[in-house]
Symmetry: C2
Subunit: 369 residues, 2 copies
């Protein structure tokens, strides 16, 4: 029997019970709101994870490599939610011709013109959503910007709807702020859909989402789908804004104690930033969790201990309050709970899936573009 003590460290561990619980929670919530989920697979980048929480359902991807990989695995309704670089259209066309409904995203006339020309030349429909800005986080046009209608007209029958993403909700500090972000995300998307329809254009898809707003939403009238991905694993950033607790974190990195610096009150491990990533998302939150909280090999928090330093293959554990670090001999295994699951998972090629102390499975993970 393979246990959590078997694989060489560092490795990425997925707690199967927590994954299932996280999946059920959002499924029930969206079911109550009457809106389907479009799972974002960019966090886990694993067909096994998607199959487990959302088998065969509509998905969102962050790269064309994900689109191709999940299409191979049987996923047929895929949204590529990064503004389209016209050079990438031939890869999009290849999937469309295989019968995959691959929808792309854009927010400019230049992209719409390039796409329409490409679609016409290829005698193809390339479904496209127009990105709407709801919070100044990234790209997108304003929901009442005349450019939206102009883009819609250029797209012609390639126009499939609108999309917005409340990226700033990751920086919300109160339940009220989260709820407001969710309501605003919905309002902006529905307003944009109204702008298109008011100009006589179709808008079948009204897509919103982020893990915080998906959980905080209480009314999604007019929305046709919700995107979320991080929630399968959650992380310390999500716990810090109150979307989950540390008991919900399904992803961790298992490391081994390799040294002590008693003079500095440090424990050294074999898990550095190569294993955790350099992501320090909690740095801007009320409680900075360093590179992560520390649990024992079975997932119970070691009070007061956190990973405070990282070089490539070394982690430094110390205490927040300068209390002496616990006595953890060389060879002791620990888990690090990450700041940002998407970034930490990206450092690994596979997940060891654990229930209790047993490794039940090894799931693969995609990378690259």
């Amino acid at each position: 029997m393979t246990t959590v003590d078997t694989p060489g460290t560092p490795f990425a561990l997925v707690d199967a019970d927590r994954l299932d619980r996280n999946a059920l929670r959002l499924r029930d919530h969206l079911h109550a709101l009457g809106v389907p989920l479009r799972l974002h697979v960019k966090t886990a980048k694993s067909v096994e994870v998607a199959d487990r929480v959302h088998a065969g359902g509509p998905i969102t991807v962050s790269t064309l490599a994900e689109a191709e990989h999940f299409a191979d695995a049987g996923y047929r309704d895929i949204l590529y939610a990064v503004g389209i670089d016209p050079h990438k259209l031939p890869r999009v066309a290849t999937l469309l011709r295989l019968g995959v409904t691959l929808t792309v995203l854009l927010d400019s006339l230049a992209q719409a013109e390039a796409l329409t020309r490409f679609a016409r030349d290829g005698d193809l429909r390339v479904p496209a959503l127009v990105e709407i800005d709801c919070d100044g986080h990234r790209g997108g046009v304003a929901p009442t910007d005349p450019a939206l209608v102009e883009i819609g007209r250029v797209l012609g029958d390639n126009l499939a709807g609108v999309l917005t993403h409340a990226g700033e909700s990751y920086f919300a500090r109160t339940p009220q702020a989260l709820h407001h972000a969710a309501q605003h995300e919905r309002d902006v998307a529905v307003t944009a859909a109204g702008t298109l329809r008011g100009a006589g254009l179709p808008c079948p898809i009204v897509s919103v989402g982020s893990t915080p707003t998906a959980h905080a939403a209480t009314d999604l009238t007019g929305v046709t789908e919700v995107r979320a991905g991080n929630y399968v694993f959650f992380d310390l950033v999500m716990a810090g804004i109150g979307v989950c607790t540390t008991d919900d974190l399904a992803l961790s990195v298992v490391v081994t104690v390799i040294g002590h610096r008693h003079d500095k009150n440090w424990i050294l491990t074999d898990g550095g930033w190569m294993a955790t990533s350099r992501d320090r998302g909690t740095q801007v939150q009320a409680v900075d969790q360093g590179y992560g909280l520390v649990t024992d090999a079975h997932g119970t928090l070691v009070p007061g201990l956190l990973m405070t330093g990282a070089s490539q293959e070394h982690g430094i554990l110390s205490t927040r309050d300068s209390q002496p670090v616990p006595d953890l001999p060389i060879g002791t295994r620990l888990r690090i709970l990450p700041n940002h699951a998407c970034a930490t998972a990206a450092q690994h090629d596979r997940y060891h899936v654990v229930r209790g102390a047993t490794v039940e499975a090894t799931w693969s993970r995609l990378r690259g573009w």
Copy 2:
């Protein structure tokens, strides 16, 4: 002919001329000092890079996966420079039995005892260096600590010498500070060797190194090898401490413009933190370079432009001085010069090796543990 405009973005680009120049510079410097290089392969993790700059020579690795991979490729003298977890000794033994001289590192009696027991039980010599602390950066014992002799005695004929690493030299701010760090690193290592020899123990290997100190050293009397790895690519952190200039940076990430936010003076690209890593090493330097400086597709700096924001697959470019961003249409290719080459390279599985505008080769890169 494949050019820099051919591969899909984002991708990692290696400038072959700069790589060759960086390799030659350190080779000449160490030749003048009369000390051989032990290349650290953790930066590039590529046999092709090692073959080009140091074919078949002694190497340092940061993981056993690297040791196994480079042993397969014919490298026979390998130092695993992360404190040994006793659970990893069976993998070490496998390489030793294949005839690879794989040397490990440790800094505690507990590790020395576990190693000696393992070696005796396996009827094997497991060569080990004792890690010496020269600047409080990570692990290691002090060069005159009685524990050093105790560890040496426990190791018996497994004792191979001492190693130190001036990790704090990455935070040096003046040429004087760099020079001092190099001299101190050498002095500490030589003192530690003297401590062992004074107790009647052998110390054939006296190993020092880091990219900054390797370049700043002017006298390495008593040192038997210098370790360095980052210098093959260099990066903005190294430029910030004056070890190189931005014209020496051999690694960059090629990205494509996918949008504009004129209201925010932003250019959006398809290269986010998945392509650059989250490493922001210049944040603590005199000049914070954001996620990196920006050049055109051929490597010429775009004055004033830098990558100031990153989500998973989106980069935000803006100007330091609020000057309007240059007019770069959708589809324009740019290069991002990274903060930390080791971290940025780790986000990629291969390098596109470029001379002028031509892609000469594609080199693979290892990952995992």
